[in-house]
Assembly symmetry: C2
């Protein structure tokens, strides 16, 4: 069984199995689980958390392989949840960063991530977070984008993904994938607009004094295909 067959078999067995209940103490909350790994890119994670965290009735938890995770910039975060199990959620956030360079080859991690995506209503990758998704069959047949300076590397990981070189973000069924770093903040506001309406997204952008690029086709950092 090669890696892809393994991952697909795992997905099928997870889908058939009974799944763990929410670990969160707030069962009524809109539950967001965000992945952290060493050398994750700071703003890939915290830009979306800033915006999504201002929705009412939201609960945001970090999930990681260890309890303390170091960002590429140095400061460390605490993982609330571990990767020994999967965590049902409304939204699963996958940041990018230099740490993805080793994780795309980590089969244990990719197997967990695949199962985690199967218990997440929506999956939101930022920057090279889409490299992790592209290292499994999850994104195949979907339109997706990624960091534009790492685009050749990411798009080379999986030719069955319809990679978009000009997009601030792409929202295609279960997966929303953003371009590099700051684009994740714009995509997060687009999600808020879907979940809670445009007025709520505007309210949050204004309180954060953030000039939202709200047009997914407006990509100032696009590359030639």
């Amino acid at each position: 069984m090669n890696r892809r067959q393994f991952l697909m078999a795992t997905s099928a067995s997870v889908a058939a199995a009974s799944l763990p209940l929410y670990a969160s103490s707030n069962h009524d909350a809109f539950r967001i689980v965000a992945l952290v790994f060493d050398d994750y890119e700071t703003l890939d994670l915290h830009g979306p958390i800033e915006m999504l965290g201002h929705m009412k009735g939201v609960n945001i938890e970090l999930v990681g392989a260890r309890s303390i995770i170091r960002s590429y910039q140095g400061p460390k975060v605490v993982a609330d949840l571990d990767t020994n199990q999967v965590h049902h959620c409304d939204l699963f956030i996958i940041p990018g960063g230099m740490g993805t360079r080793s994780l795309v080859k980590d089969e244990v991690f990719l197997e967990w991530m695949t199962r985690q995506c199967h218990v997440s209503n929506k999956v939101f990758s930022v920057c090279t977070g889409s490299a992790l998704l592209a290292s499994t069959p999850l994104l195949e047949g979907h339109k997706a984008t990624s960091n534009k300076q790492a685009f050749e590397w990411v798009s080379g990981l999986n030719s069955k993904v319809q990679w978009q070189p000009r997009a601030r973000w792409i929202d295609d069924r279960q997966f929303i994938t953003s371009s590099g770093v700051s684009a994740g903040t714009d995509a997060a506001l687009a999600l808020i607009s879907q979940y809670r309406g445009r007025a709520e997204a505007d309210r949050i952008a204004t309180l954060a004094e953030y000039q939202w690029n709200d047009d997914p086709s407006n990509d100032p950092f696009a590359i030639e295909a």
Copy 2:
């Protein structure tokens, strides 16, 4: 002795005393120390860290009253340094957020922060971080700004500060104070431009796919004075 007299007397005694050496293991690095406290605003801290953390030869540490600190949005960070002492640094970052509402009345904290500012070459507040500075005499006689939705509260804390209602950020001698949340990211790039040149600031903004508002007088969220 009232609070202000206490803080000023403390400042004078600190200035006269010998000061602790760098605790960092990297003595040659450009040392950034960033304050964290419960209910700090996520992007106030992590937007500047994203940008400043891409400067070469930089070392960023968090300082807090406890080892684990919870953001307003929920996720937690690890404090590398404690507030039992002060930490010499090139840049001291003070984020804002709901946690400032109690800290402006916390004399033990304000006394430490005053001493910390005295061993920091430059002090950079984001959003309502300037409320903390304004609760001491530190900003008096300086131009400064703050979050525009909290402007009345912050400016009411100290009438000896020259509050600017229309400014993305204000850089006045030792203190650079930014407007709300996202404005800190723009101000951080302005600092990088000062420290390392415009080309380096542009390089970092581009790799983060960030549309930098590089004009401190361009304040889309300004209020009427």
